[in-house]
Amino acid sequence: MTLAPAVPDSAVPGTAVRIGVLSLQGDVREHAAVLEHLGAETVTVRRPGELAAVDGLVIPGGESTVIDRLARLTGLREPLRDAIAGGLPVLGTCAGLILLAERLRDAGPGQETIGGLDVTVRRNAFGRQAESFETDLVVPALEELGSGGPTVRAVFLRAPLIEEVGPAAEVLATLPDGRVVAARQRSAIGLAFHPESTGENRFHALFLRSVHEHRLARAARRRLSRPAAGRSPDPRPRQP
């Protein structure tokens, strides 16, 4: 994984998409490995300026209270919120799902979320590590990719659960008993489990597809509004 500095994004079709992995804490490397295997370029995101340079964002698994706390301390939370609200494609797994939830139950002390996914999530809903489990899930949306079946091996680690899905979001996967463990809202995907832990790359492929669509749409909008000059975001300088 490269630790590239913030650079202006490019919307040139055919170039690799640049995906930021929120790198405040958690299994950053596993996500980067899956994304790079799928042909994306990855950069770490720890500062607001680095967020301006990415075509999509992954919020990894980890301890959501720690990621939230560091995101607020470093002034990253508001830019993250704005970017996701502005349509930046995002994939969150486990802690990432918690951070994307509009509403959170059993939050840690003072814990907040970034939002972007119209769901209510309960943190540590299954219990402690002794209750962590792996199981097969049937995910019909994976058939959109046109390769492989709809079944995935899913790893739930002290996992959250989606207890309510608001009107803006749709269910992506449930446990056999109907409890919701994955949801999607336009280009935001939240999973209660960890595809990155088992080498499962189809959720990342689904995410990258929406990144490509988003980038093409954005490029088209730019051509319409400003035919001569491409937007060149001015990333915030590195904090001294």
Binding site: L3, S23, L24, Q25, G26, D27, V28, R29, E30, R46, G61, G62, E63, T65, V66, R69, L70, L73, C94, A95, D106, G108, P109, G110, R123, N124, R128, Q129, A130, E131, S132, F133, E134, T135, D136, V138, G148, G149, P150, T151, V152, R153, V155, L157, R158, H194, S197, T198, E200, R238, Q239, P240
Partner: protein, 306 residues
Amino acid sequence: MNSTSTPATSHDAPSTGTPTLKRGLAEMLKGGVIMDVVTPEQAKIAEDAGAVAVMALERVPADIRAQGGVSRMSDPEMIDGIIETVSIPVMAKARIGHFVEAQVLQQLGVDFIDESEVLSPADYIHHIEKHRFTVPFVCGATNLGEALRRITEGAAMIRSKGEAGTGDVSEATRHIRTITAEIRALAATGEDELYVAAKELQAPYALVKEVAEAGALPVPLFVAGGVATPADAAMMMQLGADGVFVGSGIFKSGDPAERAAAIVRATTFHDDPAVITEVSRGLGEAMVGLNVADLPAPHRLSERGW
């Protein structure tokens, strides 16, 4: 419906305690700081300061060192209290080889067990057979061979040992440098030379080959033992650690909450001297240190375990 397209779909029923789940939880702790706590109040301070997990124990290593005597697993009552107080993962220590202490800790529902040289060993020959447990284990190591033997026994995370309870980071430095250098050397070793490498490391060939091919351990590698300042934590991360354990360094210092938060931030921004400078300002007194060089060999905890 085609369910043959993905691997490992033959077992439909949910399973718990698998190696994937054990290593998976270890992966989720990466980039974080695990803090020693001896009371629920300290656990709360650690959680509020951004600890990724807390380590419940009866006495921090500095006190174990000062008070001497046999050091054992904590009172289950105390561990229960900490489990009830915080929402982050709770770890607890068992003595090296003491598989019944480990059974008790698993029964209590801790999220991770540290088979730790900081406590008095219960078995000078065998470590705990960790595959028999559903709870994941972390073990200390001073070199690659030791790390690989612990992984063979089922450890889901390795932490370099350092010299706990001293506030002297030099042993932690030595151990992480040794382990990472040995991994690099192994990665550069010819395939036909790996058999002898395995013999010299006193570790199984298959695991040695796996590390040589990956250029990394198959489990996360944290650092422990003597980390007392934000700069110490950042240095360990720059040396290749996946995360940091801080024992006596926090609650033996002047302002634990402030120091804990500073170490968390320095761990995340370990490659940014500006952040480390900022968080290091006005932290108050660090723990009183002991120079490892002044410790007589029998008092060096890192020499426990093999």
